[in-house]
Symmetry: D2
């Protein structure tokens, strides 16, 4: 038995469909037949070689939804309920968080365990069918499966996808209070979900800054009360934010753009004593210039980095889609679906910002 | 009746002793006869013109201790006890915090009220005897006086002075947990008190980085468990901190140096998920370069600016000297006392780092 | 010139309309012509003598909306904008918070200043027109006026009234995270607004427990996802909450009922490691029995008292009505309006729970 | 090969020494030769049957220090360093925290995992040599071993023992700020370590309330600045605390006594807006009466339950003994050592409060 998977052979190589042998399932393992796997900005970085330590050849696709096709032994969800073949599930892409190191046990930095491995990113094709752009995905023992909650359509969850999960974590770090003003920098998948979650949290004003125009329009559907395009110079953007906040700046600014200068701009946009969350800097794109007197010390501001996501963010993301999926157009974040053989087209569409997000449907 | 006060006429001018008429006391006002007034780094900046919006001519000296020589009406401390002539007091140098603006009432940024005035900094000599380098200081109605607690020698409190008060605020922002490792950048008056307060807070390792050597030696007396001089390149300093923290970096790094690059270095010294407090950037000395991916986002770190101080920090500083004054050599932070006519020598001694802090004794 | 005001002469006395001389306005003072004044549970307690230290005779009505009829000197809002005659305003009912005591300055307990006075509660009729059940209300110098924001109808704000303001404070204490389950105990004005604000905050499940049925029905309009009546025994209520939370109890329980036993019940309803906010115990109605092992220690739970409100809660309440007033039926919380002479009917309607809230319209 | 272990056969039975077969070590397992095992209040409760769900017969002793006598496979500490036979270690008494349930993964209540098992408490003698009152203790695979840090004498660590570890957790919950006043209720092993850690944290006043007199005297050696005996009525104790805190009550009160009424008393002793930590209620000793209006709501107080301890508390306890062991007389908390055959004498000495803590030395 073999499965087909889109594979990036090396940095810069186009994705090609390859055949892989089905894994032998050890006790505690399972096999998913993939329904949807996402194509996100990280995948473009992977193709372009902007992440360190990636074991090419690679089967990309870190967040996916599938159907359990086989499993060995009893696998249970966190409520103790057993999984059965046929169940529709997603899974925590981060595996092997060790629960035995200083970060796991003492500082409790759940996303900074040095032993963690990530499906589709730090597991390579030589390790097996461990990426979502594949007809089947091998759930190694210990991978944390999550059942789609009642009422959650897989296509809506995958529309939110890793951006939604990251956004849940960013919201925890942002601690927005009811009625506070929020600026979101970046209108990609992460920024879109942050806009939606800020709005659901009762933020007072939710200003999305980014581009291009179709993304800003979509941000309004996600709950943005105002949008500002990048064609406007940063000083003018800041002037608009100040005007909307009585000259003070926003209570909370969340950076989800990936551009180093956005961090410096965030500090210009936040009010005295406000909070900046930095969750968009997933690859090393260089440095930015910050004036510590004017932008940090005198402002008495708080800045919080936000790395990755843990099980709780996946779990709560599913719960949020179950509760608010009818209000928030997550499904429409990813309208373009691609078969395996068109994975390159999907990557190009994401890279060119033609789409906000693309979806691979390996079994359609 | 007149009083003599050391006055800086304009940017760059030497301090000269001038005569000023005694103020007429309105109800709620008082007059202090000055015992000790401090000379801190801010005063050097004032002479050199590195602060904006200073109304020269200026009588410097924002933190001082004096004896109530006269008062009008009943003045009470926060416990309701009346002040009497002869009482030894200090006072909150920040006046006119309005308790009526957005910062005071809504965001509760107690040090960011735009209406605040500071004795010796934003009050000028034309406003009256409103600086500590004077035989007498005019306590305007509403200025918050604080009685020296029993057992606190004025010379010990003024040794800590504004640096101690700033350090109390920085400790609130740092939230050090028992046993955590702390790095303090800067060995001036603020850094020295942060070292002492970190040690009193039960920090596990307290590493002071700064210079010159006499300051580092003093930091050890304040409680530093290790010191590193600036003659060592930043990368080697970081290597030492990592070695002392099992390769991880410090739990908390507190920047109290004033050098913009120290903020970037602080981010290199802190562990994943740790905290950086920035309280040393009191004047605009330019920008630093920060890599948001490596230094903020991936580290999942928290950075907190810390501006100024409010009444609680003064009050608690006095309580801390009352409780711990016998253990911590605050008094010896300022061994050199200068009469009014030698205020320039005091400034020079501070500017050249010959002393950590200088004290003006206008009535000796 | 005189004004009519409904007055409670002594404990248990019926409200009677009396005539009072217009106040002479000192600089900084103003006179409001009352549009709406509320009748809340506290007013029933005042009539029945369940609050200590009330200086009868009393003009009740602590939260009100009015039009500035006269003022002396320049009065400004927190943004610096001057008030004019004709402006529609409300005001912080708490006055004389001293900004000079241990609570104000050191522990920063903004609602625990011992010097605070409250319009309609701790100011008596002998002090002047200092309650809302009056044709005119005297704004003493220093009283903090708040302008109705654009788009806020006075009737909607007064519908929320003091219950909404208290709810804003309770939400700060509750720190609900997106998607968390919330139980609200009590379906009076405070509970209703807590339901609404929980829903606006993105809570996942918002269960209102209280009565009578009309209030529970209203709670659903405010955003409750489920309601439970008090006719059901506490153990059965707890069973329902557990069933809706996979056997675990709610993430956050907010007590807004005033019944001492509700605090003990709240501890039974909250999950391990969850949070209970106690904001309904405004008068001393006796003790409850709590098992510290089972209900506090082993549950690892957090309990937070929440007393009164400060300026920020008023300010933010107005902002929230401005932003969400079209979604939340605050106006309909108080559909029954009463002229001054029918103040007793209003009290009776509140006491009998015939209405959730009553409004006095002294000038209609 | 057999080992001797003191065993409680059933509720109320005296401890008797029994012989047990040595365990066969699976991969990841180890065998400790016991140096010291503690006798704490929980052990008295176990003998007296005051804990539910205990699988008698039982080998008590949840915290112990031993020497690795044998192990199978490579066992590593959290820094990755392998353990060797001959290493002196302690171990986290809580085992089988699942890292796979709602509490572990979503609410992150590290001490509330329902799957946890505790050596000497919820493992019974039928499960094997899983208690410290034994010549040897079986470290099952996955038990988290901790190496004695350099400079830590086992006798000093075991003197602190489970009380110290609990105290570290309680301090995390208490978040004492430098200079704050602390009241500690209870002068047993937990209370003693809380006194010491409060003092090390820079608390301003540390008042121990408890008994008998020898424990209060010891509390002074641990850092208490004042002690109050239980022979004084609660109202007088409260008067003393108020007198020492200018009439306000303590900033933080930590209950470590186990008496239900102590929780109510704690609420009387804390200042408005202060914090109460409840960590002493380890068995169900019934209810207490609390007035929610006077003791919670109006006080605007915060109450935090604190259950058990996790790996971080053990790890940090060891680090604290390494750093502060020379200043704090933990070793003298447990001066009486008993051989296995005298385990009943040890229990009696603890039950009668003749000693603060007793130690079993099975191999002496």
């Amino acid at each position: 038995m073999t499965y087909r998977a889109a594979t990036i052979a090396s940095v810069g190589a186009a994705a090609r469909t390859e055949e892989y042998a089905a894994p032998e399932l050890e006790p505690g393992a399972a096999l998913l037949h993939t329904l949807f796997a996402e194509v996100c900005g990280t995948d473009v970085h992977l193709r372009d070689g902007r992440l360190a330590g990636v074991p090419y050849p690679l089967i990309p696709g870190h967040v996916a939804v599938g159907v359990i096709a086989a499993h060995r032994g009893v696998l249970r969800d966190i409520h103790g309920q057993a999984f059965n073949d046929g169940d529709v599930v997603t899974f925590l892409d981060v595996h092997e968080t060790c629960n035995n190191c200083y970060e796991c046990l003492v500082t409790k930095q759940t996303t900074r365990c040095p032993h963690r491995k990530v499906y589709g990113i730090t597991y390579g094709a030589h390790d097996g069918l461990l990426g979502g752009w594949s007809e089947a995905i091998w759930m190694k023992p210990g991978v944390k499966l999550l059942r789609m909650p009642q009422g959650v359509e897989p296509a809506a969850f995958i529309g939110g996808g890793c951006g939604l999960v990251t956004a849940v974590h960013a919201m925890d770090r942002a601690e927005i209070k009811l009625g506070q003003s929020v600026v979101v920098l970046g209108a990609g998948p992460v920024g879109q979900s942050i806009v939606a979650l800020s709005s659901l949290s009762g933020a007072g004003d939710v200003i999305a800054i980014g581009g291009p125009q179709n993304r800003l329009s979509f941000a309004q559907r996600m709950g943005a009360t105002a949008t500002i395009g990048l064609e406007m110079p940063p000083a003018e953007r800041a002037a608009i934010v100040r005007e909307r906040t009585r000259g003070r700046g926003a209570d909370v600014v969340i950076e989800a753009s990936g551009a180093p200068d956005a961090v410096s701009q965030a500090l210009d946009l936040v009010r005295d004593g406000g909070r900046v969350v930095v969750c968009g800097q997933y690859t090393d794109r260089g440095a930015t210039s910050i004036n510590p007197h004017l932008q940090i010390n005198k402002k008495h501001v708080e800045i919080r980095g936000c790395w990755g996501s843990d099980y709780s963010h996946f779990y709560r993301a599913l719960e949020l889609v179950a509760r608010f999926g009818s209000k928030v157009p997550w499904r429409e974040l990813a309208v373009k679906h691609y078969p395996l053989d068109e994975a390159n087209d999907a990557l190009d569409a994401v890279a060119s910002q033609e789409v906000i997000k693309a979806i691979i449907t390996p079994n359609l």
